[in-house]
Structure formats: C-alpha cells, structure tokens
C-alpha cells in the first residue's frame, strides 16, 4: 500500500505479473506496495519467505533479473531499482512460488538438521557421486545460472584519492565535508541510490530543519567542491593492502545499453574513513521467518522514504528504545500500530497504541503471509491480529571492512555488539554507527572529528563545525532467542535455527569456526551479516560461556557478492589481449595465408596457391623454393636487442656460454644462453656492428624473458659493467632471403651488388636497400645460402612486397612457419620444442660451446654431476617411412611400452620433401652412441607405433657446405 499516489509510475514484472512501481525505488518497495508478501523460498527447506530488510543485508528476497543469457540470479530485491520493463522472477521454487514441491523438505525437516549431510551420506561411498550429490544439488541452492555467455558489458576502473569515505550517512557526510573543506582529494562512496544513509529513512531534525533537507544542503556543498567526487550505487566491497579498496558500482539499470551494467573499481586512498553504519539484527523467536516479519528499521524506512507501508496492522517487537521509533513513525503516518512488545520489564516508553513491556512474541501464524502473533505477557498469552511484525534485536555496527586484513572486532557489553578494533586496517579509521556510536549527534561529531584528524595527518588545516542533532542515547537489554515451540531462525538465508546451533554445541563443535561449518551458518551470499552475532550469542548460551569467551566474528571480502563478470571485465574472450602484427601482415593475409599465433604475434602458416587442397602441399612447395630457388620469410618477430657500451662484449661473454669479445666487427656468431641452474634458456645469433655495439637476436618466444634477464644481469649481478640494452624488435622489419638464388634476389633490391668475398657466411653490416639504410646478416636457419635483411619498420611492407614479387619471378616465393619448421628440422636446428627448460648444452650436443676460459651464467651449475652424464637423454634424429608424432615415447624394439621402459621422447616432427621421408627430433638415452640403430616409437595418446632409425640430428647437408657456398 502506498501512503500517497506517486506521480511517475512504470511497469515491471514479477513472475510474469505486471506491477507498477516508482522508477529508482527498490523492487522490494514496489512489491510491498502491491501487497506482495511472498517473494522467495528458502535455501534448504523451501519455506515461504518475504522481504525482510531495506538494504544490502537482505537475506530472503533474492530474485533473478532478466531472462535467457542475460538472466542474473541472486539479486537482492532491496537494492534492485525499479525501471520500465524490468523482468523479475522468484527463485528456488517449482512449479511456482505459492505451490513449491520442494517444500516437502520442510515437512521432513527433522531429518535435515545440521550435520545431516555428514551423517547420512557417508555410506555407501559409491552412492555419493552418483546419487546423493546430484539429488542434493538439484534440491538445494538459490538462483541458477543460464549457462550461456553473458552478453552484458562490465567495466573495471581505477581511482586515486587522499581520503576515501565509505558510506554517506551522517558520519560519512560530515567526514567528507570536513576533509573536503580542508582541501583533501575526497571520494565518498555509498551503496544506495542517494546519499544520506539513515537520515533519508528517519524522522528527525538537524540544525532545526528536517534531516533530509540538511542532507540536500550537504550534497550541494560537496558537489560544489572540485576536490570531492561522489560515487552513489557504489559498494566498497573489500579493504586490501597499501590503501587499496575494491568497490562495485552498479552503473546503469538494464535499459541503458550504452553503459556498462557494473564497474569494479580499485580505489587507492592514502587514508580511509569507514562510516558504514550499522545493521539491525533479528530476534530468534518461534517461526520468526513468515512473510511480513521484517526488521523494524526497514519497516519505517519503507514508510518514511518510499511512502510504502508493509502492513495494515503493524506490530513491533524489540528489546531496545530504537524499535519504538518504528511505532512512532507509523502512527504519525496514520498506520495502525496493533501492538508494541518490548522484552524489557523496565522499558520507559509511551505511545498512543497498546504497549506490552516485559513481553515476548512466542508464536506466529500465516503460511504465505503473517496473520497473527501470540504474545506472552504477565504470565499469560494473548493473540494479536497483524500482517506485519517489525522486530529489532538491536544494532550491529558494520565492522566488515575492518576484518578484511585479519582484524578481529572487540565486544562492547553496553551495546551488546562488536565494534572495530582500532588500526585493523592500516590507514583506515572508523566513525559513527559502525563504531558503535548510534545517535545522530554522535555520528555527526565523530565524522567531523575523525576527518579533521585525517586531514591534519595529510598536512592540511581542517576546521571542525558540528551541526546540532538528536543525541538521545540508545538503551537495550540483550535478547537473542525466545524460548518456545517451533523453529527460531537465525540465518534466514541458509536456513539455520537455534536448535541447529545447540546441536552443534552438543556434538562438541563448540568453537565458533566449527559451529559455522557444521551448521553452515554465515555462509551463502549474505555471509552472516545479520546472523553472526545472534548465532554467537546462542552458542555462548549453549556452552555456558560469555560471548567474548566464546569467540568473535569475522568477515572476508567481498562485503556483497561481486559478479565474476565485473571483476574480470575486459577479460572475456580475447579481452584486452594485445595483438602484434608484422609489417608483412596485410600482404600475407592478402595472399590468404592462415595466420597462427606466436606469443602475441601473428605469423603466416603457409601461403596457399590455386589448386592446393592441403597445407602439406603448400608447405612442400615452399620448402622447395628454399632448397631449389629462393624463399622469403618475415623473421621480424624474433627478439632484437641493441647492446651498446664499453663493456658490451663483456656482458655477452657473461650471458652466453661461448666467447663474444673475440668476435670481429662485421661478423655474427651463434650464441647459447643458460639459466643459472645450468639448463638452456635461449639461443640466437648476435652481430657485432662496432667495437662497442652489438645486436642480439632471441627466439620469438623468449624475447621478453631475455630482455628481463639482461637487465637483471646488468643491474643486479654485474652493475660493474658499463653497457646498456634496449629492445629494438619493433623498430626493424627483418626478412630471411634463403636459397641458391638468394644473392641474385638480394641484388635486385640492394643499392650495391653484394660481393661474396666481403660477405662470407656469418658476415654482417650496413647496406642500402632501395635507398633506405638497412642491415644485412648472412645467417641461415634453413641450411641454405641465406641472408637476413633488415630495414626500419616503416619500409617493411614495401620491402616484403618487392622481395616476394621478385622471388616469384625467380621460381621462388614467400614461405611460412610450416616450411620454416621443416627446413630447420632437416638441418637439426633446435627451437623451444627442444629447449623446453629441462635440456642442457650437453643434451643438445653443444657442451663444447661452454667456454672454459671465462665464467658465465649457468656454467658452475652445468658442471654439476648428473647434468652431463652419457646416460642422459641426448638429441637425436629419427627417420621413418611413415608419419611420426611429437610427444611420443621411445622404446627398445621389443620392450613393453610402459613408463619404466621409456628411453626418451620426440619433440619435433615433419615430412621432409627434400629427403622424401618422415623425420623427428627427439631425446634418447645415450642417443649419440646409438646412431644407426632401429628403435620403437609409441604414442599412446594418438595410438601410433612405428619403427624408427636413430641418426644424427642434422639430416640434410651435414657438412654445411650449402650455407657457406
């Protein structure tokens, strides 16, 4: 029911029923306004449940929003804003909310008590996976995921400030005003749609005017300050190291397609002021979970803020003065207050409605909505007709964030609550209700005082002015559970009641942590926001201890559930993964080359031609280009590191196993790099362009790793060396030109014809490439007469087009990764398939490359026993007439193909069109001594068995005459 007819109304649906609501109000308010009490079924027993609160602490009213792939389950109806066309559905009920078949669980509830799963489903073991678990999973739980890809957009963002104010009630607003006025960079975040906190929900005055007006003035002042940023709909969800806070912003409703649904913020604040307020706690009395039984503060919030009355005849049950505010506000709004029940004998309260002091609610009636309650009073009982019971067991300060870094709150007897322990989070202070200061006057004063301290700590000069407000102290007498027949619910979301906790105590789960796990109290999306303290009190009672002796409560982040989609924003699918394209990318794609990923790079797999139906045909043709004419391949993805300085050569001597200081200017040398543990890290060629100038190439995969390694050596191990390194991979476009016609092809683009005398194998130097200063390296990864020609990147595309066009005239053309791989396997050149982190220089037959004349990274460790024993698996070549597979294991011809008999494995395979046979590289125990023998290859995964002949890994042109010629 609404107190007044609102002006703007929109239509949304709840379980298909069309409902009118005010845009921006919580869905729970609209449901209550339309007399809808039953909104959900409980987790375990499928009990009918209704709206309980008016905020993020809601335990019952979890709904699903949207449909199909966009459906989002477990959304709290109390924080979901009404908007036109919103589709809301109830959860955990079948076939309908009113007639839920699974409510049978409630009838057999004696069998489903705490620990039930542990006791019942132990035996027989095999039944667990097949029978019990699937059945339980189907029966339990809340909303379900659609199983489809979420099409909604999410965002993540970073923010920085001097002072983060968490919560915008009276304390938070005063803190933001005080810090803002002093000149601090302030972010004030609040989870509500509007700032003001409880001031928007209470009837009280500040500075002689209605509190809501004071809030508007405060917000106007904050908005006028350029150094203050206000973030509404933003829940600070976690406190992390070094002043980092996570926050979830509900950016837009579901009908603003240009905006993300949610944004996950990381806010870095020098200081933070927690003004998170307090949460009212329920009282455990029999059948306290019927729809219509709500928190007292929520009832008056619906009346005061949204003009919605949750009932026609409201009763109030509390143990404190605050509960009476609800009766007073409702009576003032003209709503019938049927009875006020105060458990305190000595409560001094008055009102124009029946008040029962020293009384308790001992029973309730109404399956789908509250109809009546029974009161025990003066030794007798009395039944009162009521459709809404407002309960208040007192207030729990919202200490959550102070617990996120292992802090434990402190028990305060006078308010029967936990309050934050100071300095639980470095840089964070607390003020107001979350600190146990419950009056508006105290909240305003503390907010101002704490912010002044913080601002002064930042070197600012704050002034403190505190407005006048109500400072009436709040009195309560603890009441946790009311004796009587029927279940007294404590954790509504997880269906845990008083008896469950007593059972836990009885079965000796007396520690709070054990009790929680045994009963599941405090789990589920709610994480015990409302139930932890009551549960602890009941456990204390059951074990005959005081609350502080029984334990404490703690909370982990996040404060409210945060969707994985928000935390992982930008990471769905390809997300923000960078793509690196070579200068020949467009030209390669234009030739229909399938591009394959190589790290972040994309490289052409092969260049198909008309009539070719299989990649193997293209690959064989391209290998033929290189072996018989000339091929062109973009090798720009290899890492290129420019090294300069007087000690550049000394640096190379230290990071490579072999000697570089002896390399002549204008020459290139192959280098092997070890990790400090003696295993091979990377290999490549390094060219000496000048006395103090080298350019190193790394493999594509290890470019970043090697760069970091060189920096490590220079900065950490050898800061005595005067040398600098910088990556120039992006700056140079580099192409391999390989084959008997390589020289002829190059001469068509070079400014001056090459002289073979000046450019022998492994020479390097500067050349003019069609008028552009470039570099030329006579190196070969194919075993042919070959060069790599480099030009500044901006000329890469045109050079690639010139080279490939000319190559085609000469009976060659471009070649891709498949052909490159075949060419290098034919020559026994290793890549990271072989240099996979567990191979040593000895294993790949390069032990002699570890120079005895100098120290280098990995030298000492490589000399350890075991790293160069002849029994180790050594690089070999394997040949066969049939196709081989990589990753297959090697066995003696007649041995059983078991793990214990494995002698090694294959790492790279190809069909060699040059040799017309299948080749493999692999590692074989004592392999170098077994050339010429026939062994067995077995691939259990692909079911391949072949006899293979062991040979030298250099299958083609073993003397290397073609490359030198």
């Amino acid at each position: 029911m609404r107190l007044q007819a609102p002006e703007n109304m929109v239509t949304f649906t709840f379980d298909g029923r069309r409902i009118k609501g005010v845009p921006g109000e919580p869905v729970s308010a609209a449901l209550l306004a339309n007399g809808i009490k039953l909104v959900a079924r409980s987790f375990k027993y499928h009990r009918p449940r209704g709206v309980m609160s008016a905020g993020a602490e809601e335990q019952n009213a979890l709904v699903t929003v949207g449909q199909g792939a966009q459906a989002e389950p477990n959304v709290r109806a109390t924080t979901l804003e009404v908007s036109e066309g919103l589709e809301v559905s109830s959860q955990n009920a079948w076939p309908s909310l009113r007639y839920d078949m699974m409510a049978v669980n409630d009838l057999i509830s004696p069998f489903l008590a705490a620990g039930f799963y542990y006791k019942t489903f132990m035996w027989p073991r095999s039944f667990w996976e097949k029978l019990y678990e699937p059945v339980i999973r189907r029966a339990a739980g809340l909303g379900a995921l659609s199983g489809q890809t979420n099409p909604d957009t999410y965002e993540k963002a970073f923010a920085f400030c001097d002072v983060l104010v968490i919560g915008a009630g009276p304390a938070g607003l005063m803190a933001a005003l005080t810090a803002g006025r002093a000149g601090a960079d302030v972010i004030i975040a609040d989870d509500d749609t509007a700032m003001g906190g409880r001031l928007l929900r209470e009837c009280e005055d500040i500075e002689g005017k209605p509190a809501r007006e004071w809030v508007l003035d405060a917000l106007a002042e904050l908005d006028a300050m350029p150094n203050v940023r206000r973030m509404t709909r933003t829940t600070v969800t976690g406190a992390y190291d070094q002043g980092t806070y996570g926050a979830l912003e509900r950016v837009a409703g579901r009908f603003a397609p240009d905006k993300p649904l949610e944004c996950f913020w990381r806010i870095v604040a020098q200081r933070a002021i927690l003004c998170a307020g307090a949460l009212e706690r329920p009282i455990a009395f029999p059948n306290n979970d019927r729809p219509g039984i709500m928190m007292a503060s929520a009832v008056r919030a619906y009346v005061n803020r949204w003009g919605v009355t949750p009932g026609k005849a409201v009763t109030v049950f509390g143990n404190n003065d605050d509960a009476h505010r609800t009766a007073r506000d409702l009576a003032a709004a003209g709503i019938k207050v049927a009875a006020v029940i105060d458990s305190r004998d000595d409560a001094k309260v008055a009102g124009d409605y029946p008040i029962y002091t020293g009384a308790q609610v001992i029973a309730t009636k109404g399956r789908h909505g509250l109809q009546s309650i029974t009161i025990r009073h003066n030794g007798g009982t009395r039944m009162v007709q009521t459709d809404c019971l407002a309960m208040s067991g007192g207030w729990n300060p919202t200490v959550h964030l102070t617990c996120h870094m292992n802090g434990r709150p402190t028990w305060r007897e006078d308010i029967a609550s936990f309050v934050p322990t100071p300095q639980s989070i470095p840089g964070m202070v607390t003020a107001g209700a979350c600190n146990g200061s419950f009056t508006t006057a105290a909240c305003l004063a503390e907010g101002a005082a704490v912010a002044a301290e913080v601002a002064a700590g930042l070197g600012l000069k704050p002034k403190v002015t505190v407005p006048d407000a109500d400072g009436t102290a709040y009195a309560l007498a603890p009441l946790w559970a009311v004796p009587g027949k029927g279940r007294k619910w404590i954790d509504f979301q997880n269906d845990v009641h008083v008896k469950d906790i007593k059972l836990a105590a009885q079965e000796n789960f007396r520690s709070v942590e054990h009790m929680k796990r045994y009963t599941t109290q405090g789990m589920a999306p709610d994480q015990g926001k409302s139930s932890n303290v009551v549960a602890l009190a009941v456990l204390a009672d059951a074990t005959g201890r005081g609350i502080p002796e029984t334990g404490t409560t703690t909370f982990r982040p996040p404060y409210v559930p945060v969707s994985i989609a928000a935390m992982g924003a930008g990471s769905q699918g390809k997300g923000f993964a960078p793509e690196r394209f070579t200068t020949s990318h467009k030209a390669s794609v234009a030739r229909d080359a399938p591009m394959i990923e190589a790290g972040l790079w994309y490289r052409p797999s092969y260049f198909p031609q008309m009539g070719e139906t299989h990649w193997q045909q293209s690959c064989d043709r391209e290998v033929g280009y290189v072996r018989n004419a000339v091929g062109v391949c973009d090798v720009s993805t290899l890492g290129k590191i420019d090294i300069q300085g007087p000690d550049a050569a000394a640096l190379l001597d230290f990071v490579y196993t072999n000697m570089f200081s002896t390399l002549k200017v204008g020459r290139v040398r192959y280098g092997l790099m070890l990790r400090e543990d003696g295993h091979v890290m990377d290999d490549g060629t390094t060219a000496r362009l000048g006395d103090t100038h080298f350019v190193m190439t790394t493999t594509t995969a290890a470019a970043g790793l090697v760069m970091r390694h060189l920096e490590f050596v220079l900065q950490v191990l050898r800061s005595d060396l005067d040398a600098k390194v910088i990556s120039v991979t992006e700056q140079w476009a580099q192409f391999a030109v390989a084959g008997p016609q390589a020289l002829a092809l190059l001469n068509t683009v070079l400014d001056q014809d090459l002289d073979d005398e000046i450019w022998p194998f492994m020479a390097c130097g500067e050349v003019g490439v069609s008028g552009v200063p470039g570099r030329l390296f006579r190196i070969s990864f194919s075993g042919e007469h070959a060069y790599e020609v480099a030009v500044p990147s901006r000329y890469g595309e045109s050079l690639f087009r010139m080279l490939t066009a000319q190559a085609e005239v000469m009976g060659g053309g471009p070649y891709g990764m498949e052909a490159l791989n075949v060419l290098r396997i034919e020559k026994g050149f290793v890549t990271h398939a072989e240099l996979h982190g567990r191979t040593t220089a000895f294993d790949i037959g390069m032990a002699r490359m570890v120079s005895a004349k100098k120290d280098c990274i990995g030298k000492a460790a490589a000399a350890r026993p075991g790293l160069s024993d002849w029994g180790r698996q050594q690089l070999v070549g394997l040949r066969s007439t049939n196709a081989l597979t990589a990753g297959a294991h090697l066995f003696e011809k007649n041995a059983a193909e078991t793990r214990g008999n494995s002698l090694g494995y294959t790492t790279s395979v190809c069909y060699s069109p040059t040799l017309q046979m299948h080749l493999a590289l692999g590692f074989l125990e004592n392999g170098r001594a077994r050339h010429g023998e026939v062994i067995k290859l077995r691939d259990h995964l692909r079911d391949v068995t072949e006899e293979v002949a062991v040979c030298d890994p250099v299958f083609f042109d073993p003397t290397g005459g073609r490359a030198r010629g």
Binding site: F158, Y240, D241, Q242, G243, T244, R266, V268, M405, P426, E676, D677, R708, E711, F712, L714, Q715, V716, L717, S719, D855, K859, A860, A861, R864
Partner: protein, 87 residues
C-alpha cells in the same frame, strides 16, 4: 599491493615481476663449490615476517628493485634500486 618504485613512484603490483629472495644478489664465484652453488640456486627460507625480495618494474621503468616487506602484516617498507646496492 603497491610498491613505491624509486624511479616511478607508487604503483600497483601488477606492473611488477616477482623473482624471489634478494639472496640472488650474492652470486658465488665460479669455483665456490657445489655446496655454495646449491644453496644459491635452491635453498630459500620461507619467513613469516620480514623479507627482502627482488622485483622488476617490468611494465614501468624496467628497474630491478629490492623490496623490503613483511609477509605477515603485508606492509611494504621500502624499495631500492638493486643497481645501487653495494656488494
């Protein structure tokens, strides 16, 4: 977690690459013997409390840093350029 790079200021830990104990600074001589090398390569304490680690500001200035921090309190005390540390 945030680390204050002497070159760049306070940055999110996602910008940094973690290597491990700053023991890596004390590289033994080539002939120090297997025991010394084994210790250097493999033996690390797992302290609950103060640590000195090597981090690289890889997505920043590229500097290798020695970060002093506490694994219990998560406090990060300071970061110094490894290059400047006297050995």
């Amino acid at each position: 977690m945030r680390i204050t790079c002497p070159n760049c200021g306070t940055r999110d830990r996602r910008e940094f690459y973690y290597l491990g104990d700053a023991l890596a600074l004390d590289r033994p001589a080539e002939d120090a013997g297997l025991g010394a090398w084994d210790d250097y390569l493999h033996s690390r304490d797992n302290p609950a409390g103060e640590t000195r680690d090597l981090w690289c500001h890889e997505a920043g200035c590229g500097a290798w840093l020695i970060v002093e921090r506490n694994t219990v309190t998560h406090a990060v005390h300071k970061a110094t350029l490894a290059e400047k540390v006297k050995r």
